[in-house]
Amino acid sequence: MNGLNQVRGAVIAALNGGGLTAVAAYEGKAKRYPGAVIAVDVAEAAGKAMALCSYLGKTYDESTGTVKELYGRQLTVGISLEVRATAAADCETAMETAAELLMTGLPSGLRPGEQSWEAVSWDRDNQLFLRRGRVSCRAYFIAETGQEDGTLLDFILKGVMTT
C-alpha cells in the first residue's frame, strides 16, 4: 500500500471507528446508505525526506536481538471529505462528529492541522445534501531494514497497526 493510500485508509478507519460511515472516494458503484456517508480522498500531497537522506539512525530490536536501521519520510497532505445525507441536518451532525474525530482519533503518524468546511449544498448527481470539508495533515512514515538481508522495507504510517 502506498503512502497516500495509507493516509486515506487511516482517516477512513478513524471515522468508521467513531461510528460514522466513511468510504474511499471514487470506488465502485454509489450505494444507498441508511444515514450520512463520508467520501474520503487525498486531494493534495507534498513529500520531503526527514533528517539526512531520510536516515533516522539505528534501533535495537529486543525481540529478535538485532539492530535495525530506521528511515523516515514526511508528507504534507490535504484530505478531502465529502459528507452526504438525505437530510441537511444529518450532514451537519456527521460533519461535527467527523471534525472531532479528526482532531482526536487519528494514528500518531498523522497530525491534523487546519480544517475548513463549506456550507451545505445539493448534490444533483446523487440527489443528496452535501457538505465538503478539507483537513491538512502532516503524515510521518517509518521504514526499517529487514532482519536477514538488510533491505529497506516499505514505509509504514507511524502509529498504524500492521499484520
Partner: protein, 103 residues
Amino acid sequence: MKNLLEPILLRYGQDLTVNGGSTVRAFLQPVTDRAKASPYTVTPLGTVDDRLWIYLGSAALSPGDTVAWYDRSFTVRNSEPVGSGTELQHWWAALAPAREAKE
C-alpha cells in the same frame, strides 16, 4: 379518456410492483438520450446510473415510492397527474434506478 388507456395498458403494458406490495399495469421505458454515450456519472461517492425511466399508468405514484419490474428496481423522483379536459387521464413519473444498499 381513461377508459381508452386501460385496454392499451392491459395489452402492451408491464406489471410493476409498487412499494413491495400492489401490482399495477403501466408503461415503463428508459429515456433515450443520444448525447449520453455513457450511462454513468462518476462522483466521489461512486458511479451513479443517472438514466431516467418514464412511467405512464393509471396508478398514482409519489416521489420516494419504489417500483420493481423484472430484475430491476427504481425510486420515483418526480410524478405528475396528466389530464385531458376535466378528466384525469393518467399519471406520469420519472424514475431513477435504485441503488444497492450498503452491506
